[in-house]
């Protein structure tokens, strides 16, 4: 172990890099967020979240992210169960098919929904052809939820599939053997054992949904602002970095809360699975 020190030195480049590009930038967000344009300390930028328009955008983002996450769980869980029950040659291929859209460019995926949902878009054209009433979805919160669910569904499917696939089939058999019917087996065994997957799926869907500005911009028109849009505009259009940073601090607070919650649940979950 003589060369231990030399080996440890190999981490130097990354330590420098992480300090320069992860830590310092994050500190700068806090610096800008907690000062005004003259560099004086203030809470005003953080407290600006109380202004109606900002608060509304945060509230809406939370609601839409919550709805999207719930829909994702409801859609992904049965799918993941079916996928994990597949055995044999095709298993890999089928799972691959359901993960593939994740690798398609995010913006193009969202653009596709714009094309489908627009007032004179594909869905409405089909509906018209069938003499059914047109749907007005584009530029409504529903369209944004559509986009979020579509974009982030694979992020829910993957961890659920992984955790369900790891459950020993004999554990399920043991529950049946001890008298549980399929429904009882699901409630008492499968569901609790899949909690870590559910939690990591929730974080992977909730955080990007809460903070997105792309989906809302493309499917919500410029009328519906989420907190992500507000922050983005402060940086790219209004050049009010202090306000943008202040609101980001609020946003980070919510991310940290959701991280802590998932850490607590996951600890329980992992303590049980490992």
């Amino acid at each position: 172990m003589k060369n231990n020190k030399a080996v440890k030195l190999l981490s130097a480049p990354y330590i420098v890099w992480a300090a320069a590009f992860i830590i310092i930038p994050l500190l700068m967000v806090f610096y800008y967020g907690l000062t005004n344009r003259d560099g004086q300390f203030t809470f005003a930028n953080v407290l600006a979240i109380q202004q109606t328009e900002h608060f509304k955008s945060l509230y809406l983002a939370l609601i839409l992210a919550l709805i999207s996450t719930v829909i994702c769980i409801l859609l992904a869980y049965p799918l993941a169960m079916i996928l994990s029950s597949l055995k044999g040659k095709n298993e890999h291929l089928v799972v691959f098919i359901f993960i593939l859209p994740m690798w398609m460019n995010f913006l193009l995926r969202t653009m596709a929904w714009q094309t489908l949902l627009e007032n004179d878009g594909v869905i409405n054209t089909v509906l018209q052809f069938l003499h059914m009433p047109k749907m007005h979805i584009i530029n409504t919160p529903s369209a944004i939820v559509f986009g979020m669910v579509y974009n982030f569904l694979p992020f829910m499917v993957l961890p659920l599939y992984n955790v369900l696939n790891k459950i020993d089939i004999n554990v399920i058999n043991a529950a049946r053997d001890l008298g549980a019917n399929p429904f009882q087996t699901f409630i008492r065994i499968t569901l609790p054992l899949s909690v870590p997957g559910i939690i990591s799926g929730i974080t992977m869907v909730f955080v990007p949904s809460l903070t997105t500005f792309v989906v809302s911009e493309m499917l919500g028109g410029s009328k519906i602002l989420l907190i992500g849009n507000v922050i983005e505009q402060e940086f790219t259009q209004n050049s009010n970095w202090n306000l943008g940073s202040g609101l980001s601090i609020v946003l980070m607070l919510f991310i940290i809360i959701s991280m802590i919650m998932s850490a607590i649940f996951d600890k329980n979950g992992e303590g049980n699975t490992l």
Partner: protein, 260 residues
């Protein structure tokens, strides 16, 4: 029997939900008419327009270059960091792991604006280099994530045995350690490469005027109103992703069969 049919139907419905949008884009990319409501006949003209669009071609080149360079740099830094982390004490290791988790757990928009503030503060010129630095930053954690388990699984005696047999540290690294962790490095590289290709948000905040990647180009276009050229682009990207992933998926399964 009924449950089997229900399963099939469910899988089919999700499949339609996932693929209908992409299928629509592919169909529309061959549509003569600019309106998406009408089928105006088959055409390749949007593809031709796309290929003659210098701005799009330049964006494509930028995207690939940034993805390639950032993934390579991230691989080198990430791998040597893993080697060092494996020898570290618990405290410094968990601190470094914690820091590494920040870009992965934090919202992309926050990572994006934090880097933007950094570059603004140092009055850096926004452009290719700032995008590249940002991409390396969010790529390193992915490399560490996929190399670290490999290093942990590696038998430390292998390296020591090589030294014992007279190899120098560098020779031992390239001949003994690297082959052992190679699958991890490779999958880290691929992950970093695709993350970089797919990134929009962080690029959006760290790019300068006139420098675009495909993602930012698409965003700008879509804001102006969708141009059928974009459908052609989607189709091409979809097909390349498909081919790439099929190739990648073939590789490890081939390995497994060899192991058997």
């Amino acid at each position: 029997m009924i449950s089997k049919i229900l399963k099939r139907v469910y899988i089919a419905l999700i499949f339609v939900f996932l693929y209908a949008p992409m299928f629509t884009l592919i169909v529309l990319s061959f549509n003569q008419s600019k309106s998406r409501a009408k089928w105006g006949g088959f055409t390749f003209k949007w593809y031709l327009a796309l290929f003659s669009d210098r701005v799009v071609i330049q964006a494509l080149i930028n995207t690939l270059l940034i993805a390639l360079i950032s993934a390579l740099v991230a691989c080198v830094i990430g791998t040597i960091t893993c080697l060092a982390m494996n020898r570290m004490g618990n405290v410094s290791k968990s601190i470094l792991t914690g820091v590494t988790n920040i870009p992965m757990l934090n919202a992309e928009i926050v990572t994006g604006i934090s880097l933007m503030l950094l570059f603004l503060f140092f009055k850096a010129k926004f452009g290719f280099v700032t995008i590249l630095l940002s991409h390396i930053t969010f790529n390193i954690p992915y490399v560490i994530l996929s190399v670290m388990p490999r290093i942990r699984k590696m038998n430390p005696s292998n390296y020591e045995a090589a030294l014992d047999l007279g190899a120098g540290p560098l020779y031992a690294f390239f001949k003994v350690v690297l082959p052992d962790i190679w699958p991890g490095v490779l999958s880290g590289f691929l992950m970093a490469f695709t993350m970089s290709l797919d990134d929009f948000i962080i690029t959006h905040f760290t790019k300068g005027p006139g420098v675009d990647t495909l993602s930012t180009k698409i965003y700008a276009q879509v804001k102006k109103g969708i141009n059928p050229e974009m459908y052609a682009l989607s189709t091409l990207i979809f097909i390349s992703v498909l081919i790439l992933l099929i190739l990648i998926n073939r590789m490890p399964s081939g390995d497994k069969e060899k192991e058997k």
